[in-house]
Assembly symmetry: C2
């Protein structure tokens, strides 16, 4: 006898991965040049050479026992201090190693926080559409209830009145993701202040802290000098879940951290509960070698140039053809409306027939839209333009 919910989570592999597998097969059949795969969020910008050099340097000059041994559960002190120093430099205020807990990527941070915040099977966690689909797996798979704020499709900020209505005495936390996957929107200071005001009022009404989980793997991926507000300054009960997957192009290495500010209600309790949750799920420590590289490279800047070039080309071409698309300010996604009244699944199927792979927004809680991952080669985007044009033309014609 197996846990049937876990069987389902294993069997229903993610739509995104299915597209990716399909793309791999098609490339073998029709050739690398003829498949336009915009399905996966795997960075196309290589890991900065500073990271490779740091890894080789550590491997060449330190003792293997020191490199590969267990680290403390929260991570090597050098890495935690380097990360705290980098955040301090950027925010202009002093943070310490105690604010940083290294994890196997943002997914591990989120799962640990969610497990720490769920009290029983009636506990609720709120996510805001469009959202990263795994939030549903984490919350329901770890035994809680997820509630979804419908998308605000004009600008993909947060529908605050709708959010407020979903908060109950059972609400333990709200998850936000800005810069957003899949919409590319960056929540403005105004949006975040509005959110904070509601959460403070509701925390006070229900007499318990409602924690804000700020999932920020795309924090560094923002264009045109736009502001990404430091969320704990706006809402004190915020925990940041960060990953180096996108900023340093290390998605497979599973390295990230939880940032717990001193302002959080019951700081010690939050640290204990999240580390206790990580412990029972079998997380012993974040991978040790890559921790050493992070200690040396915490301040290495993200290479934005090629993503920005892709973004400009794709956004310019698609909107000039008549596609309807919110302005992409961050991350490496465009979120385009299915044209000519088609559903997102219909348009995705039409595109698939032309070997152009776009993930329907349905799994992100936003039907009617499609996600275009532009973390791909500039040349592939250029080659794909005529197909995008062809698709908007044929989708407008009656059968």
């Amino acid at each position: 006898m197996l846990n049937s919910q876990m069987v389902d989570f294993g069997r229903r592999s993610s739509t995104i991965r299915n597209f990716f597998e399909y793309g791999k097969k098609r490339r073998q059949i029709v050739g690398e040049e003829n498949v336009f795969d915009f399905s996966l969020g795997n960075p196309s910008v290589p890991t900065p050479s500073a990271v490779t050099e740091a890894l080789i340097d550590v491997l060449s000059h330190r003792s293997p026992i020191e490199i590969h041994g267990y680290t403390p559960s929260a991570g090597d002190i050098e890495a935690r201090e380097a990360i705290a120093a980098d955040i301090s430099r950027r925010i202009g205020r002093k943070f310490c190693s105690r604010n940083i807990y290294l994890t196997c990527g943002a997914a591990a941070s989120l799962a640990s926080c969610i497990k720490a915040f769920l009290l029983d099977s009636s506990s609720e966690i709120i996510a805001i559409a469009p959202f990263f689909p795994e939030y549903i797996s984490f919350v329901t798979g770890l035994g809680g209830v997820i509630k979804i704020v419908p998308p605000k499709v004009d600008d993909f900020q947060i529908d605050l009145p709708a959010l407020e209505k979903l908060i109950t005495s059972k609400t333990q936390a709200v998850i936000i993701n800005s810069p957003n996957n899949p919409s590319g929107a960056v929540y403005t200071r105004k949006t975040l202040c509005g959110l904070s005001e509601i959460l403070m009022r509701k925390s006070s009404q229900y007499r318990h802290a409602i924690y804000l989980l700020s999932d920020e793997p795309y924090r560094e991926l923002v264009y045109d000098g736009l502001e990404v507000p430091f969320v704990p300054d706006i809402y004190p009960n915020t925990i940041i879940c960060y990953s180096y997957s996108k900023s340093l192009s290390l998605p497979g290495e599973r390295i990230g951290y939880m940032f717990v500010p001193d302002t959080v209600e019951d700081f010690d309790g939050v640290c204990w509960a999240t580390s206790g949750a990580a412990r029972v799920m079998g997380y012993v420590c974040a991978p040790a070698l890559i921790q050493k590289a992070v200690a040396l490279c915490a301040s290495v800047p993200t290479d934005l140039e090629s993503y920005d070039r892709n973004r400009r080309l794709l956004y310019g071409e698609l909107t000039s053809m008549g596609y309807d698309c919110c302005h992409p300010d961050g991350a490496f996604y465009l979120f385009v409306k299915a044209p000519n009244g088609l559903s997102s699944v219909e348009f995705s199927e039409l595109a698939k027939n032309e070997d152009l792979l776009l993930v329907p927004g349905d799994d992100f809680g936003c039907p009617g839209f499609l996600r275009i991952s532009y973390c791909v080669s500039f040349e592939m985007i250029k080659r794909s333009i005529p197909t995008f044009r062809h698709l908007i033309e044929i989708s407008g014609c009656p059968d």
Copy 2:
């Protein structure tokens, strides 16, 4: 409001880690040479140079995007095939990549299996004392009930009649760990055949498979050419949870795998449920770079020589002084009885006063005994001998 069970798991950090932290402090006060720290299972044998060379070679010659990108959830096919080929070579029968699912170490494998097997809060999992203390965290923290078979202190095999009595209709799995931490015992073929007979009979009685989780991080650490039976050949419903932490001295890198044999009941279901469980707990894939090293080094032999030298010295000296200790056949632990009628905590305190650190067996489910981790330098063991002698002498004297 935080989950109080998770707070507790975070607050009550492990006894072993507390000893280790204490040892670090004492070394600063009384000097490196004067602390005899036998508390932690951190390998003292360096990672084989083949692993370091493989890591540097991969970093120097492959593209960073290929090295550090997401791998499939089950791991890079090259690593899975290399591991399957290595097991095939050793067992003399063909296994395939489908039998291997890479994980962030044996702890992640165990947590994923346990989460997959727990149906509700009444589901039971059986562990056999002495056991790795984290089994309790995994089972109870993931929402199940753990039942403990008392230790068989004459030889630290399994008390099979006691095990049989603990099996109920709610029993979902049994966890074994051989070579054993902390006893150093290796379960004999006879013990495992007896276990298999009981599990088959009880599975049949209760009409559902009782899975056997074989936690084998010490599989390669066995001395005098002793046999470590391949458990799935004895009991078909076995899943092996393996780690390279000890065999390749990579404990901080969090790399291991689940081995699911084709003989397991509902093979597809088991694979789905365990991968679904890993997914909801935020495991995306095992760390990517180290997967590449494992693909190249799956057959690199474990360096046993220095552990064996430590083992012979320590076992010979302690038993000649009058310490009572089961013969250590595997892993890198001696499990010694507290002498002169003292409790394990009393003797541990007495030893601590002499800066000799031994973990009491209580947390391993075996009061009255103490774990001595001999994965330390030969020189430290030599220096510690007079202190061991002093301790058995003073503990025998009336106050």
